[in-house]
């Protein structure tokens, strides 16, 4: 066989093998998604958004409490985690740079990122829930914030470092003070990347169940007081899906569907932003 034919044959074999494995991976993904969508869409109706939880068998039961609880917990965690993460990342990239301190912080946050979220849940349980004497929305918020900060911190750090140092120097050369260089040039240059990090960070914590089980716990009714236990979509889904009641299970599907669509949406927007950034 001549070498060119041989190369083309190998090329074809590799192409077929890799396409096949991609197909297998994707088909599982679509299987999960389609089951989720079929059951989820069936389970979704207006009641879900207008009624709180109810004992099994009640017509008028919904997920309003879990939706609002989820929004509050994730929203407040975002409000705390994003500025802290961005400021920390700014310190690493612009002030700490190559110092020992900066490397230690980078290493610790890399470890934090891969720490099982249940560990963080138990940590917050020990330092917040036990001293307070009860579960609370705040405990959930703190757990999610702890998970979110290292993600945003490291993406911010990476994205700011991608901004060429000549751009910083050019701004300094025009007489800009350091904070101006950072806010008006470096942040602008890294805007899309940092935003993507924020979206992916939110998407990551929005799907967390384990750290909330020990912290914000659950409430079958609407509660907006962060000092009390608070419902979330993930914990509600976990409770309903593992219950023996058909109507609760159906609500569990609805919760899973809404949550997945939310996270999928965040991820898609994040990816689109990355593509836009590359396309420029």
């Amino acid at each position: 066989m001549n070498p060119i034919k041989k190369r083309m044959l190998i090329n074809r074999i590799i192409l077929i093998l890799s396409s096949l494995s991609a197909l297998i991976g994707i088909s599982f993904l679509f299987w999960i998604l389609s089951v989720l969508i079929m059951n989820g869409v069936d389970a979704i109706n207006w009641n879900i958004f207008t009624f709180e939880g109810a004992p099994p068998g009640y017509e008028e039961s919904g997920l309003k409490h879990a939706l609002i609880g989820q929004l509050i917990i994730v929203g407040v965690a975002t409000l705390i985690g994003v500025p802290l993460g961005i400021l920390g990342g700014t310190y690493l990239s612009e002030y700490g740079q190559k110092s020992k301190m900066a490397y230690i912080i980078r290493d610790i946050s890399d470890i934090m990122m891969s720490a099982p979220s249940i560990v963080i849940g138990s940590f917050v349980y020990a330092i917040i829930v036990i001293p307070m004497g009860h579960f609370s929305g705040w405990a959930g918020v703190i757990a999610l914030t702890i998970i979110m900060i290292p993600i945003i911190l490291r993406t911010t750090d990476d994205m700011l470092q991608l901004v060429p140092s000549t751009l910083r120097e050019a701004a300094f050369a025009l007489g800009a003070p350091k904070y101006k260089v950072i806010t008006s040039v470096v942040y602008r240059g890294a805007k899309v990347g940092v935003l993507t990090g924020i979206l992916l960070g939110i998407a990551r914590v929005a799907g967390e169940t384990a750290p909330l089980l020990f912290t914000s716990f659950n409430d079958n009714f609407l509660n907006t007081d962060l000092n009390e236990p608070m419902a979330s979509l993930t914990v509600t889904m976990y409770n309903y899906a593992t219950s023996p009641y058909d109507d609760w299970q159906s609500l569990g599907w609805a919760a899973a569907f809404i949550l997945s669509m939310f996270i999928l949406g965040l991820n898609i927007v994040g990816r689109l932003l990355i593509m836009k950034r590359k396309g420029r």
């Binding site: 060429p164 000549t166 751009l167 910083r168 120097e169 050019a170 701004a171 300094f172 050369a173 025009l174 007489g175 800009a176 003070p177 101006k180 008006s184 040039v185 602008r188 240059g189 805007k191 420029r280």
Partner: protein
């Protein structure tokens, strides 16, 4: 000893016994530099790679201070004071001594905002004053015609040569006394290079210019004075024609005749 031409005209800058050592380096990168820079004229710095041209240029606007641990001694006089003094206001100094880099450094913002950047830093907020000064700077940098209809567009959409002229516009908008150019055309095509050279010559009516270049023809074309550097020292500073035609130092002659470098 270096051969330094006597500059009788007014001087923009005067370097005296300047020595510079990078953070962590054993040897100084610049040794005992004494060099007058004539006002409203163009001084070119030439010399083989690594001889310290960029290092010297970045000393004039104290760019080295951005990184910890760099050491220097001697003095650089500008407007009657030593700008190496610890009390020197670096922000003010850098608005007086502007810099153009080797690669264009357009900020990730609109063309207008790029040019307005330094003006806004100086606290100019008035819209019509900003508009006027941005337009004037762009005209002086010979790029107004190309960008006047798209001032709101992202500056990164411009070509390399246009971006470099935009950077020049941005630097001259704040009306500096001195402009430092570090190989401003080495990333550009011949046509853009010609444009920048023409611009640099026009600018010397208003500003004193120091330009680092690897291209000896470029130094000969644009500059009034040329300094030849070698291994961290200024070997010779002369009137450009004289330095290229009748160099006084053997090293200068060997370099311009292409024996090394």
């Amino acid at each position: 000893m270096a051969t330094i031409v006597d500059i009788t005209d007014e001087k923009a800058l005067e370097v005296k016994n300047f020595e510079f050592t990078y953070n962590g380096a054993q040897e100084p990168s610049l040794k005992n530099i004494t060099m007058p820079i004539a006002k409203r004229s163009i001084t070119a710095l030439i010399g083989p790679s690594g001889c310290g041209k960029t290092t010297l240029l970045r000393s004039f606007n104290r760019m080295h201070d951005l990184y910890a641990g760099n050491r220097y001694s001697g003095s650089i006089e500008f407007e009657g004071r030593n700008i190496l003094d610890a009390k020197e206001d670096l922000i003010k100094l850098r608005t007086n001594i502007g810099m153009i880099f080797q690669k264009p450094t357009a900020f990730p913002m609109s063309i207008f905002d790029n040019v307005a950047y330094g003006l806004r830093l100086q606290g100019i907020k008035n819209r019509s004053e900003l508009n006027d000064r941005v337009e004037k700077a762009l005209q002086d940098a010979a790029i107004w015609k190309e960008v006047s209809s798209r001032l709101k567009n992202d500056a990164n959409g411009l070509s390399g040569g246009q971006q470099q002229r935009l950077c020049i516009a941005r630097a001259i908008a704040v009306e500096p006394e001195v402009l430092l150019f570090d190989e401003p055309t080495s990333a550009l095509d011949p046509i853009s290079t010609q444009g920048i050279e023409k611009l640099v010559i026009e600018l010397k009516e208003r500003v004193s210019i120091i330009i680092v270049t690897h291209n000896m023809q470029q130094a000969a074309r644009v500059s009034d004075y040329t300094g030849f550097m070698y291994m961290g020292e200024l070997i010779e500073l002369g009137v450009t024609e004289e330095l290229f035609v009748t160099p006084k130092e053997r090293l200068t002659e060997e370099y311009i005749t292409g024996k090394f470098g």
